[in-house]
């Protein structure tokens, strides 16, 4: 049954339907709400494996590293879901959802459990939560560490903020060996350049 459910996804991957578009190192507006200045050439993943109010960029391919922008997650919505996941999850086993009243401790926990569920792995940790400034206002920052079912350990960082009851954030994750640390300065610069625009600025 599960095999059958995944076949469309397998076919999608085999058909090479995960094209990229180039993101030049000039100011970009992500999802109409986050304006950032990349310092290098990125690739926008037009059919990411995950769905939600997100946009995904990568440098070396999503297996090695990716940058996931959360472009205004609303109250009651999960951070992201697996593409093609059957909808209408309800009752006791729902995917954890964002609440506009959440404090940073709760956001960190939401990330951790969402990753565990979406990666299908219990080896997910978050740490080092602290307050930071994002786009001139209060925000939060923490680190992630996860081992996927492919046995690869990946490190990550999340910087985000809640404005007008919506979540805006960027999560950079890469293979712990090389692909995370190499681009961490680029992530820091990019997040440092972030401005909330459009409805996020209201």
């Amino acid at each position: 049954m599960h095999l059958r459910r995944c076949l469309p996804l397998v076919l999608l991957v085999l058909a090479g339907c995960a094209p990229y578009t180039l993101v030049r190192p000039e100011r970009q507006t992500v999802g109409g709400v986050l304006s950032v200045q990349p310092g290098t050439m990125w690739n926008r993943v037009t059919v990411p494996a995950f769905a939600g109010k997100i946009e995904v960029w990568t440098l070396d391919g999503t297996v090695l590293n990716f940058l996931m922008f959360f472009t205004g997650t609303a109250d009651g919505e999960p951070l992201f879901t697996r593409r093609g996941e059957p909808g209408g999850r309800s009752g006791a086993e729902r995917l954890p959802v964002f609440r506009s009243t959440m404090n940073p401790l709760e956001i960190e926990e939401l990330f951790k459990d969402t990753l565990a569920r979406n990666l299908g792995s219990p080896i997910v940790e978050t740490r080092g939560l602290r307050a930071v400034t994002l786009g001139g206002g209060p925000g939060f920052h923490f680190e992630t560490r996860a081992v996927g079912r492919d046995e690869v350990e990946r490190s990550g960082v999340v910087t985000g903020a809640i404005r007008g009851g919506r979540l805006y954030a960027a999560w950079f994750q890469g293979a712990r060996l090389h692909y995370f640390e190499r681009y961490l300065p680029e992530f820091d610069r990019l997040v440092g350049s972030a401005q909330l625009v459009g409805e996020a600025a209201r």
């Binding site: 995944c6 297996v63 006791a92 086993e93 569920r117 792995s121």
Partner: protein, 338 residues
Amino acid sequence: MDRAEAEIRESRFLIRRPEVTGYVGDVACRLLASHCRDVRAYVVRTPLFNASMAPNGMMQVWTGLLLRCRDEAQFAAIVGHEMGHYLRRHGIERWRDVRSKADVSAFLTLGLGAAGLGVVGMMTQLALVASIFAFTRDQEREADVVGLNLVAGAGYPPVAAAEVWEQLIAELEASTAEQSVNVFFATHPAPEERLGSLRALAAGRGDAQGDRGRERYRSRLAAIRPMLLRDEVALRQYGRSEVVLDLLLRDAPDDGLLWFAKGEIYRLRADAGDAERALAAYESALAGLGAPPETHRSIGMVQLRAGRPEAARQAFERYLALKPDASDREAIRALLTR
């Protein structure tokens, strides 16, 4: 199969604590006696209920199973059943099937993992692994009989197998609305039917008494219990977890770790009335033994959400006093000065 074993030995999901793997091996040896040397036990960190025994003697036990057994007798009952398949050579008959399915599984894991579809890959792989070891109904019955004989022969109460099934059925009923995957149930005969035949088998043996090994089970797994509970809570299967925790609390009503986990279930579910349920559970945790410092942190979070900042501040202060090197110290301070 040898390749699968090599992979498991290298896996980051393998529990490498000698007191835990040694204990699992000890239980297997107590059941098997002369065949003991044939079995190699691996404990895999996956918060689902499953165990398997490959034809080459590789035994896998998942951590979700360890959490759900109330004592050594129940754990031995599951191991005994898997031994039943092994001793009757059930796996060999499916060997060719195993080879082809294992190849498909490797492909899927690679492809979907690459696409970032971890959980689909995992569940697909689990379903395949389970189907590799899915036996016919007659083979299951045979394994039940052999398992029960092993369990009784080793001095455990034969009723333990029926108890485990009863517990799993209760859990399953709590999750009827949940679309969760339980590979064990997916591949084994209807649980109610199984429960009936296991009860009949146990009653037929008559020797209802035996060594439960409850304290031994608790103490030998003590090092990984906080992790088992954390992984269970993170699944956010609130209804199922509540059933599991209530069962465990029946045997250990003053276990602070269990009460803390129960509080976490309510705090994270956050339905009407859950804040008070969570606070009551945290209070029981603190009144009991072994509540972690995070109990105070969680009380702080619930109080903050309930609009009681002073109670929240006191709880967070207690947490930081107990855990001065907490990595979220600064964030909590910032929260308190808001």
